[in-house]
Amino acid sequence: MQSDSIFFLLALITIVSSIVMISAHRPIDSALSFIVTLVSIAALFALVNATFLFVVQIIIYAGAILSLILFIIMFLNIKDENLPDERYKNYWLLGTSLIVAPFSFILIDLILRSNIALKAQISEEFGTIKDVGLTLFDKWILPFELVSILLLVALIGAVILSKKEA
């Protein structure tokens, strides 16, 4: 019961902050509320004992990626007059939400209709770095290696694209 109420609280925070994130006018506000979202998601990870992922989420997302975004915002020195004129933003938000609604409804309905939970007994080790690491190198070595190549590609791309003109 306790975990349920914590879940609802976190869920609420996540949803609200993400709504703020998509509706804030200035990117810096969005970024800050996105941090809130990410952190509460991380908390949700922790709620189901995924401790390692909790850490990863905080470090990589809230730490690295968000800092990158903030850095970019600062780096590009975006002033208010650089921001797009979004007069019809709220209509757009409302309209798109209406379009998305059936999609969410159908998926939620399907989830509710399916009996998917196994409710397996969670072992002590679950979610620890050892558990995740073993699984990763035992079963997921190939995707892991592939990701490295993906990162290589992204690296090359970032280099090519942001290189000053020769």
Binding site: L107, S114, I116, P143, G157
Partner: protein, 496 residues
């Protein structure tokens, strides 16, 4: 040579070569020509290796101990790998003139090309959703970057931006779908999912149906089916010509490789739910594509829009696949080959005559080409005829297979619909021919500086014709029959 060796040699060679080039590019010995020929050589060698696996039916889990059954090496994969390696080879070979006359094709671009091919190779062997996704991302990301290669061009940057943004959006659907499937089947391995699907009733498959639908959306995005393919015109226009050819001809093959494997292995059970959707998608794709193609002034955009129409035909065949016959699926393979050879040829001619300039080639720019460069004009004509599905070209045989399989699956009406869009497509393809031959204003003569481009344009044109009429009766060359045989082997190996 064991099968494992062949299976691993191709991606390995591609990665090694890519890494070598990446480093070699920094050395002072590097010249563009050397980089080009190293890439070309890699492609030839890897094509030869992979082609050795297409002639017989085989299927094996690749190193199950290490890879945890995530890769499968079978004729199906080998066929597709050979197809797009060949495609990549042709693209590159024809683009020689273009590459030489532009300065943004640096060594990184060859690396990216090789890596994208690597991604595709893994994608077509992938038997697991995450592996497939990552390799798809490798391939697409390389292509995103290749699209934006020309940083000086606003168009290229914009195309890169659109492609990247929408591509990421589409990719998130894939992940959501994968998550749904995982939630239900508790695995991402295609074999296990297939087993799960067969052993449960529909009530415990709802999320799999929804999830694979989401995955299908990504696939539809990649093959630019309406309404997920709105990016295609802009991106194709923004990208440089060889890259456009590469996207239109080669990338599509890899996507279909995975789509077919996934669909034929797992989701053929849900045919009843998907077919109408796919067919509906095919219809709007064909109509939308032809509507867009008919109004274009730029030949490149026309070809881009028409590639949408061709995706529509492929979707018809896709919907016509069924468990008991291999016809529709092998029709897809054949059609992919037919399309890539024609499209690469067509784009190749454009890149040949544009010689690296960023200028958009309008219909009027083709005027009088037949007078100054008759062979090139004739080749372009052949490609146009093939794309239009004119008999005696390989494009016709492809359409023939697709329509046959559609009729066999009971979609006669849709075959008729396909025929109608094919008939509309006559307009814009023949418009090219018209401008080539009938308009007076002579085109500036293109000097025959790049023998290799020229030779491969002609070779593609010949292949197009040979694929349309060729029989093994003449000269003992493998003809349509042989191609057909290969396609059938490929499909049948899936079931092994």
């Amino acid at each position: 040579m064991t099968n494992e060796f062949i299976a691993l040699a191709v991606p390995g060679l591609l990665v090694l070569s890519a890494v070598f080039l990446l480093l070699f590019g920094l050395s002072s010995h590097y010249t563009k020509n050397r980089g080009y020929y190293i890439t070309l050589g890699t492609l030839v060698v890897s094509f030869l290796i992979s082609a050795s696996g297409v002639s017989e039916k085989h299927s094996m889990d690749l190193l199950p101990g290490i890879f945890n059954s995530m890769l499968v090496y079978d004729t199906f994969g080998a066929t597709f790998i050979s197809l797009f390696l060949l495609g990549g080879f042709f693209t590159l070979a024809i683009a020689k003139s273009f590459i030489d006359s532009t300065d943004y094709f640096t060594h990184e671009s060859f690396v990216l090309l090789l890596l994208s091919l690597f991604g595709m190779v893994v994608l077509s062997m992938a038997n697991e959703l995450i592996t497939a996704f990552i390799s798809l991302e490798i391939a697409s990301m390389s292509v995103y970057i290749l699209v934006g290669l020309n940083r000086d061009s606003l168009k290229a940057s914009e195309a890169f931006f659109k492609y990247l943004l929408l591509g990421s959006f589409a990719a998130s659907f894939y992940l959501l779908g994968m998550m749904f499937i995982y939630a239900q089947a508790k695995s991402t391995n295609l074999d296990i999912i297939a087993h799960y699907v067969l052993s449960t009733d529909i009530h415990s498959q709802l999320l799999i149906i929804a999830g694979s639908m989401l995955i299908m959306i990504t696939i539809m995005f990649k093959i630019a089916s309406v309404p997920f393919g709105a990016w295609v015109l802009d991106v194709y226009e923004g990208a440089s010509l060889p890259i456009t050819a590469y996207m239109a001809g080669v990338f599509k093959i890899a996507v279909f490789a995975f789509a077919l494997r996934m669909f034929l292995l797992d989701y053929i059970q849900f045919e009843a739910y998907y077919d109408i959707l796919i067919i509906g998608g095919a219809l709007v794709t064909m109509v939308g594509g032809s509507l867009l193609a008919i109004i274009q002034n730029s030949v490149k955009k026309m070809l881009a829009a028409s590639s949408v129409v061709h995706s529509g035909y492929l979707l018809i065949a896709f919907a016509s696949t069924s468990e008991d016959t291999s016809g529709a699926a092998s029709a897809i393979i054949f059609y992919l080959f037919a399309y890539f050879i024609s499209a690469i040829g067509a784009f190749g001619v454009l890149s040949y005559i544009s010689q690296g300039s960023a200028k958009t080639i309008n219909y009027d720019d083709l005027n009088g080409l037949a007078r100054t460069n008759p062979i090139i004009a004739a080749s372009l004509t052949v490609f146009m005829l093939s794309l239009a599905g004119f008999p005696s070209t390989i494009g016709f045989i492809g359409k023939f297979y697709i329509f046959t399989s559609a009729i066999e699956a009971g979609y006669t009406l849709f075959a008729i619909f396909g025929a109608i869009t094919a008939f509309i497509s006559i307009y814009y393809y023949f418009k090219v021919i018209m401008h080539l031959y009938f308009k007076e204003n002579p085109h500036m003569k293109v000097h025959y500086g790049y023998k290799i481009s020229f030779a491969f344009i002609v070779l593609s044109a010949f292949t197009v014709l040979w694929g349309g009429v060729g029989t093994s009766l003449l000269f003992n060359l493998p003809g349509i029959n042989a191609l057909n045989e290969l396609a059938r082997f490929a499909i049948e190996s899936l079931a092994m």
